[in-house]
């Protein structure tokens, strides 16, 4: 599954790990994250993420 990087702070969303701090289960693809989800590091919205090459 693809990893995505926050363009504001550089934090990387790894779908294998999910984001327990916001109740996101491991193995959740980035595209399935709710619109209310934000970068757990800096609070940037989902739209500020770019797919990691």
């Amino acid at each position: 599954m693809e990893k995505w990087e926050c363009t504001v702070c550089g934090w990387v969303y790894d779908p294998e790990k999910g984001d327990p701090s916001q109740g996101i289960e491991p193995r959740t693809p980035f595209s399935d994250l709710p619109d209310s989800w934000v970068c757990p590091e800096c609070g940037a919205p989902k739209s500020m993420f770019e797919k990691l090459s």
Binding site: T7, V8, C9, G10, W11, C42, G43, S47, S53
Partner: protein, 397 residues
């Protein structure tokens, strides 16, 4: 073909990744003086507050670098750069040639010349090691002083509050965040920080730090004395210019780069906190990322990518205080037309700056509703027109 990057922070690592994409067969090396792999510097605040572990700030592990063919060498100090011969030398004596070089050496924390600032217990926050050391010191301290009411100073104050310390922030300017906030906004912010138990003293500097072996007391201008066991200096950054100077590159406040992020030496580019473009050293992550990508593109194909600046965006990472500053906020007035909305009791303050009918800057505090729209308008450069009142009051209107 070998590309060398000096510095493994966000600018250097972003450049390495772009190089990898553009030049699949090239050898890519990153030399980093710190002993760790690349980590998220903004996350050091969370590390200091005890909310994150170092591993959580390290987005790429050893395997990642290996699988991407990027050689990341920690604890590696580049001591000499010879742009004429296209060679660099490491502190151990190892010498190598390069086809292209990217300087991403970053910046050091600035230590103003305050008497007593070298006493143990007086620290700056820049590296992972710094954060761990401050955290350790905080365990045995009752009261801490933060010198500097900029973004880092305020976030440091919040992190130290997490350890139940008495925290005082001293800012030399008449209000907090003087480069982005205006006076009215600074006052609203100070009140919000007071509610979190952070004392804010503006228009004041620290004259001297005293202590017998360890810092114990701060003397402020005006004569006030504060008992302290920990002092964190957050007085801004200074680009690390040693290598650039040694190599004979043109430097000013930072390494001077053109619109292609080329330095004065052929084949050498600079990006991130060390680079000075059009007189500006941005010192923020989004600029470091953009510049890293552009420097990489131009190393591979000179003239292929042009840098046009980064819209400055800062968001305060202090739980309970929402604050975002975007673009040109005219802290002390200026040519732009200013519109304000304030509700200080609720900690709400909003200022929009327009030029020729277009939004060029904004301060949004307390209520972030409509922030996305404000950001979009600043980036797009469209005229604002009838939406102004709504933008100004957010959902409160």
């Amino acid at each position: 073909m070998r590309y060398a990057i000096v510095g493994g922070g966000i600018a250097g690592v972003t450049a390495a990744r772009r190089l990898r994409a553009l030049a699949p067969k090239a050898e890519i090396l990153i030399f980093e003086q710190e002993p760790q792999l690349y980590y998220l510097r903004p996350g050091l605040i969370d590390l200091l507050a005890g909310e994150k572990k170092p591993a959580e700030l390290t987005p790429f592990d050893r395997n990642w670098y290996e699988s991407h063919g990027i050689s990341f060498r920690p604890s590696a100090q580049v001591v000499e750069l010879d742009p004429g011969r296209h060679t660099l030398t490491l502190s151990g004596g190892e010498k190598m040639s390069y086809a292209g070089l990217i300087l991403a050496t970053g910046a050091d924390a600035f230590r103003p010349p305050v008497p007593g600032a070298s006493l143990p217990g007086t620290l700056t926050l820049r590296s992972l090691q710094d954060a761990l050391e401050i955290r350790e010191r905080a365990q045995g301290a009752r009261a801490a002083l933060v010198l500097g009411g900029g973004w880092l100073g305020l976030e440091t104050a919040r992190a130290l509050r997490a350890w139940k310390l008495e925290v005082t922030v001293v800012e030399r300017a008449p209000w907090l965040l003087p480069r982005q906030l205006d006076r009215a906004g600074g006052e609203v912010l100070a009140t919000q920080l007071n509610k979190l138990g952070i004392e804010v003293i503006t228009g004041t500097s620290c004259q001297e730090l005293r202590g017998d072996g360890e810092v114990r007391e701060a003397i402020l201008t005006g004569g006030r004395r504060l008992p302290v066991q920990l002092v964190v200096i957050a007085a801004g950054i200074r680009p690390r210019l040693g290598l650039a100077r040694q190599a004979g590159l043109a430097v000013n406040r930072g390494v001077v780069v053109d619109d292609w992020l080329a330095t004065s030496a052929e084949g050498v580019y600079a990006c991130g906190d060390v680079a000075e473009w059009q007189g500006k050293v941005f010192g923020i992550v989004p600029a470091a990322r953009e510049q890293g990508q552009i420097a990489a593109a131009n190393v591979v194909e000179p003239g292929s990518a042009r840098y046009r600046g980064t819209v400055v965006k800062n968001r305060l990472k202090v739980a309970g205080v929402e604050l975002v500053c975007l673009g040109d906020t005219q802290p002390e007035g200026g040519p732009g037309e200013e519109h304000r909305y304030a509700s200080p009791q609720e900690g709400v303050y909003r200022k929009l700056v327009l030029r020729g009918g277009k939004l060029v800057g904004a301060i949004v505090m307390g209520d972030l509703s409509g922030l996305g729209e404000v950001e979009r308008l600043i980036s797009a450069g469209e005229e604002v027109g009838g939406e102004l009142k709504r933008l100004l009051t957010g959902r409160l209107g």
